[in-house]
């Protein structure tokens, strides 16, 4: 099992976080907990994203030292997923913020944070 390295573990962690997030969203009745679960889900996603760009024994694509500036492609991990993760985190931030605003507004309407209380539109 010498193949198991940091990337596999991270991948597993990412998926586990992802699943925990989904499980939380499905099982928690409190809206805030759902939002927290959602952020967990996103975190898992971001971890997976980072893992995808990771290549073992390579460093981050920050070209601060001169040695990295030669043969760069061989020495650094794939920079694109990292860039993607940044964007994704930003978007996740936006979404989470919006969700929290929604939670606030919902609480204002009904003084309740239970998801089961918000079934006005159905069928």
């Amino acid at each position: 099992m010498q193949n198991i390295g940091i990337e596999q573990i991270s991948l597993a962690v990412g998926f586990i976080l992802l699943l925990i997030g989904i499980w939380g969203m499905l099982s928690q009745k409190n809206i805030l907990k759902i939002i927290v679960s959602f952020t967990i889900f996103e975190t898992g996603l971001n971890v997976i994203l980072v893992v995808i760009g990771y290549i073992r024994n390579k460093t981050a694509p920050i070209l601060d030292t001169t040695e990295l500036q030669t043969n760069t492609a061989e020495k650094i991990v794939d920079p694109i997923p990292q860039a993607l993760v940044l964007t994704s985190i930003v978007i996740g931030l936006g979404v989470t913020a919006l969700l929290l605003v929604y939670a606030l507004k919902m609480h204002k309407e009904k003084k309740s944070l239970l998801i089961n209380d918000y079934k006005d539109t159905k069928w």
């Binding site: 099982s27 959602f38 997923p81 993607l84 979404v95 929604y102 507004k105 919902m106 918000y118």
Partner: protein, 1042 residues
């Protein structure tokens, strides 16, 4: 040309700069945003225009110095131009529509709008997967921002559900993109596609995630509760954006990304789409809230598009045409409907009668409903046609079934809605006032619907042959609605007369006969329209549309033209029927049966076109494959119009509730459309067999039972017009039987009887219509003794029933005589005897009609009634003249028809010697019969007058009444339940079995619909479970070898 990047740039720039504008200056913000959107719309429109006209090359936008795949690039092709144009347009006009709402919500809402449109523009144009994800997220965040324009519990919780659901979906998308990058090493769509990735292990799961996310964005059944809640609770303008802009973009994304998916996944997507289409429409049937109903409809339409895109590999090059035409219909109609819903603001569609207070909105509403349900002349019609044709061509029959049944469900709820709007009794006092900035987008979109229809049809190789002239004339009448009836009527008659005069020479004999029934008959019934006062709004456009459809049927050379005309006629007649009192239920069942029948015809034409180079009507005559199926589908389709037994339940109510001159139009003329269809079908296809049994044989029994049941039910009606309506059912049974005889005499009977039936039924309906006009009741037992008040109507009815009953010497006997000769010749005696029996039953209702209305005791209330309006009498007497002519000289009617039939049925023709008709079996001389009868009558009459010259005229109660005296005419007039003993004897035969059957079908469908909608219980977590379960199931199906 303006670089498309400016679309993004301007939208972004303006939305950023809006941040700098002061808090109070929402007006400036709004105008700036609209200007920006206008600019982007113009840009994309310009691109599209150039793509269409100049056929320029696709334009690529590179964002950095690197070329893709190392950088993000955008692309502007013909499709992109069209889609961005649509998105920008809905942004512009939606923004205009919502202007005051957005303004009230503050400038940030304008920013949200701009961001949404910008996001969607990029989503359409981008060629980079991650870029796609980012801008999809931006759009959905913008939507979430717009949802809270209405701040109430419903919309907020709906927005929350939306955010959570799209969050998960975009998570999936991101996962898919990440893995694709992992395996393909690129994010550029074109680049990925050019690599051969078949071998890449694990890529399929990545693509699965990608595609499933896109599919989930399209809100597939059943994982779509979150979308529905948004549709039903958000501001209508926002719903329209979501439905038109957002969904349009997702459709384009699916088109763009489809090449990623392996073939089985494509089919799976298609299957999901079609299931969504069918089930969403099914569930739409039980909706009462207009926005939610529109939501179901949106989802279903997008599902249909997904299905079409999914099977694009099967359909081939026409996918684009189909998708575009259906999408444009959906896009224009759905935004229009959402906007109107926003103006009407009624929670229940039953209250939409309020729409009547604003005629313009009502008209627009109708236009959008028709555009949405894929009726001509809107683009959806051609899309649906082409779709069915291609599905048939590739023998995907279950798909055809699904498409048609789903469309049918949609028709059910859309037309119920329309019916409520036009006709529901619920009176709501408020007067609808739409602001000008709300009306402009609606008007433009409605105009665009027509324009798009014309454009799409001009793109289509066969649709471009359609003769739009009659339709244009009919629609032209919509613009002169302000004129009084007299002028419009004259114009209508002139238009029809001129059309017939200039065209009849180009018709063959059969066409001439039916064109004469349709047009001359139409003119005759239109003459009665002079009796109406005022403007009679909403009559002429639809009447002429119906006649346009009818004449289109006669002129059709391709199946598409035929179907187009058929639908046109259905629409026109639907509105005519809807004009009547209490017509809402009947008009709905009429349109449902008509559209159902039309879909069968469509399927039949689709099957017929398999393996044929073109779609001319002639292809029906040399069909190798599925001939019995085609025949059956078309025959049943046509029989919905002839109201054969089992398909007749729409007719009585529809005809009975219609206006005085509409009843003859729909009963005497419209039904002949079905006859024409059947004749065309029989002529083209000849006899078809299922096993050993001929279709004609089956149809003969259908015809016989129709005739028997129609006539028997007519005998038990209390409502005069309903009686005549059932009588029409019976008469059409005769025609069907005559046609099914498949012999010269049989056809001669059928066609001549069609002509005769037109005459006497128009006569009777007009006369009874005149009576109802004066008496304001249709119940016969409330009338009586009107012979003295309405002698001219009486004579009409008298002649009418003598012709109907087929008693010599009038021309009705010709039909009976011919028919019997034909029966004996064909040796179908049992049918013949039953038909004779039903003919005798006709006496029952004929007598009842004339007795209960004109004879017996006059009622006190009717002492001062006047003769029916002059203009209603005029066509009656014109018809009477013709009846007398045909009675005296039967060969003037029968001989031309016989000659026309000679090429088809050379054997067994009648030989004529003067007016003497001879067949192999018998003979008949109409002229001598007339002379003898008239002669004997005159002599006997003279004798009686001589004997009784000084008879004392007495009044109504001077009757020998068992030594008592009658006290009230009501209790002396024996008219109610007139054939009570007969009912006792054989009334069980007319138990409403068929009506009950259809009611059960209706209830069943609705309860199934109800059951399914219960899965959307409003809980965000349930919706998430749906999504997760959906993903799992689809995963198992695609990978688990389900």
């Amino acid at each position: 040309m303006v670089d498309p990047i400016y679309i993004v740039a301007v939208l972004l720039g303006i939305s950023f700069s809006l941040g700098f504008i002061g808090k109070k200056s929402e007006n400036i913000a709004g105008i700036l945003s609209l200007l920006a959107l206008g600019f982007t719309t113009l840009v994309s429109a310009q691109w599209f225009y150039n793509f269409v006209t100049a056929d320029i090359e696709t334009y690529h936008i590179f964002t950095t110095a690197f070329k893709p795949p190392f950088s993000i690039n955008l692309m502007m092709g013909k499709e992109e131009a069209l889609f961005t144009m649509m998105i920008n347009a809905i942004g512009l006009f939606g923004g205009l529509y919502m202007f005051d709402r957005l303004k009230a919500a503050g400038k940030n809402s304008f920013i949200a709008l701009l961001m949404l449109i910008m996001g969607l523009n990029v989503v359409v144009m981008t060629r980079d997967l991650f870029n796609l994800f980012v801008f999809l997220e931006i759009s959905s965040i913008a939507v979430a921002g717009l949802i809270v324009l209405t701040q109430n519990t419903k919309s907020i919780s709906a927005g929350f559900k939306f955010m959570i659901a799209t969050g998960i979906i975009s998570g999936l998308l991101l996962l898919g993109i990440a893995f694709i990058y992992n395996y393909a090493g690129s994010l550029n769509i074109d680049h990925i596609l050019t690599q051969n990735l078949e071998a890449a292990k694990g890529l399929s799961i990545a693509i699965f995630f990608l595609m499933i996310a896109i599919v989930l964005e399209m809100k597939p059944f059943p994982a779509n509760g979150w979308g529905l809640d948004v549709y039903s609770s958000a501001e209508s303008g926002v719903s329209s954006l979501l439905s038109s802009a957002y969904a349009t973009a997702t459709v384009f994304v699916l088109m763009k990304l489809l090449p990623f998916a392996p073939e089985n996944l494509q089919f799976l997507i298609a299957a999901i789409g079609i299931i969504t289409f069918v089930f969403s429409n099914l569930m739409g049937m039980r909706q009462d809230n207009p926005n939610r109903m529109l939501g179901y409809s949106s989802i279903s339409q997008i599902g249909l598009l997904a299905a079409v895109i999914g099977i694009s590999s099967v359909i081939g090059e026409y996918t684009y045409f189909i998708v575009i035409s259906i999408l444009i219909s959906h896009f224009l109609a759905k935004s229009g409907l959402f906007w109107i819903a926003g103006i009407v603001k009624q929670e229940s569609i039953k209250n939409w009668s309020v729409l009547r207070s604003n005629k313009l909105l009502l008209v627009l509403f109708g236009v959008f409903i028709f555009a949405l349900t894929g009726l001509p002349p809107f683009p959806g019609f051609f899309g649906k046609w082409e779709l069915v044709m291609h599905l048939a061509e590739t023998k995907n029959f279950i798909w055809i079934f699904a498409v048609l049944i789903g469309s049918f469900f949609e028709v059910v709820y859309m037309f119920r809605w329309l019916g409520y709007a036009v006709k529901n009794d619920i009176i709501i006092e408020t007067k609808l006032k739409a602001k000008i900035h709300q009306i402009i987008p609606l008007l433009l979109f409605a105009a665009a619907a027509f324009g798009a229809g014309y454009y799409v049809s001009s793109e289509h190789p066969y649709a471009s042959l359609i003769n739009y002239l009659p339709l244009a004339v009919a629609l032209g009448f919509a613009f002169i609605e302000f004129l009084p009836v007299f002028i419009k009527n004259t114009l209508a008659i002139a238009a029809m007369a001129a059309y017939f005069y200039f065209n009849y020479e180009s018709y063959n004999e059969l066409q001439v006969i039916f064109a004469a029934i349709f047009i001359i008959g139409g003119i005759l019934t239109l003459i009665a329209g002079y009796a109406y006062k005022g403007k009679r709004q909403g009559f002429y456009p639809f009447a002429l549309m119906m006649f346009a459809g009818l004449i289109g049927l006669v002129e059709a050379t391709t199946t598409l033209e035929f179907f187009f005309a058929w639908e046109l006629m259905t629409i026109g007649s639907y509105f005519l029927i809807l004009r009547g009192k209490k017509s809402i239920k009947h008009a709905l069942s009429y349109i449902l049966f008509s559209i159902g029948g039309a879909y069968l015809i469509l399927a039949g034409f689709g099957l017929a076109a398999i393996g044929k180079p073109d779609i001319s009507i002639g292809i029906l005559s040399n069909i190798e494959l599925y001939a019995p199926w085609i025949f059956g589908l078309l025959a049943i389709g046509f029989m919905t119009k002839t109201a054969s037994i089992g398909l007749h339940i729409w007719l009585p109510g529809a005809h009975a509730e219609a206006e005085a001159d509409v009843s003859p139009m729909v009963s005497a003329i419209l039904l002949k459309a079905g006859v024409f269809g059947l004749i065309m079908l029989f002529l083209a296809m000849g006899e078809q067999f299922i096993g050993n049994i001929s279709f004609a044989y089956i149809l003969s029994w259908v015809g016989v039972i129709t005739a028997l049941m129609g006539n028997m039910m007519a005998a038990f009606q209390e409502d005069a017009k309903r009686l005549l309506a059932y009588s029409s059912i019976g008469a059409l049974g005769y025609v069907l039987f005559g046609l099914s005889l498949m012999s010269h005499l049989g056809w001669l009977t059928a066609i001549s009887f069609s002509v005769t039936h037109f005459m006497f039924k128009a006569l009777l309906f007009l006369a009874i219509g005149g009576v109802v006009w004066r008496l304001k009741t249709k119940d016969m037992y409330k009338m009586g003794g009107l012979i003295k008040k309405m002698p001219f109507s009486f004579i009409s009815v008298l002649i009418g029933i003598i012709v109907l009953a087929g008693v010599p010497p009038l021309t009705g006997f010709a039909g009976k005589w011919l028919f019997f000769q034909a029966v004996v010749e064909k040796q179908w005696f049992l049918q013949g005897a039953v038909l004779f029996f039903s003919g005798i039953i006709a006496f029952l209702y004929c007598f009842r009609l004339i007795h209960s209305i004109f004879l017996g005791q006059p009622k006190d209330e009717h002492r001062n009634v006047k003769e029916a309006p002059f203009w209603i009498l005029v066509p009656q007497y014109a018809i009477l003249m013709v009846i007398m002519l045909f009675s005296m000289l039967p060969n003037s009617l029968l001989k031309p028809i016989g000659d026309m039939l000679m090429p088809y049925f050379p054997d067994g023709a009648i030989t004529w010697d003067g007016q003497m008709a001879t067949t192999a079996l018998g003979y008949w001389n109409g002229k001598t019969v007339m002379f003898i009868v008239v002669g004997v009558f005159a002599i006997v009459f003279g004798w009686l007058v001589f004997m009784n010259r000084n008879a004392k005229k007495v009044k109504q109660f001077n009757i020998g009444y068992a030594a008592e005296r009658p006290f009230l005419p009501e209790t002396t007039h024996y008219a109610f339940n007139f054939f009570a003993p007969y009912k006792k004897a054989i009334g069980f035969l007319v138990a409403p079995g068929i009506t009950n059957f259809w009611h059960r079908v209706d209830e069943g469908a609705h309860s199934v619909s109800d059951k399914f909608t219960k899965i959307y219980n409003g809980n965000a977590q349930s919706y998430l479970i749906h999504i997760v379960a959906f993903i799992l199931v689809i995963y198992l199906i695609s990978f688990g070898g389900f």
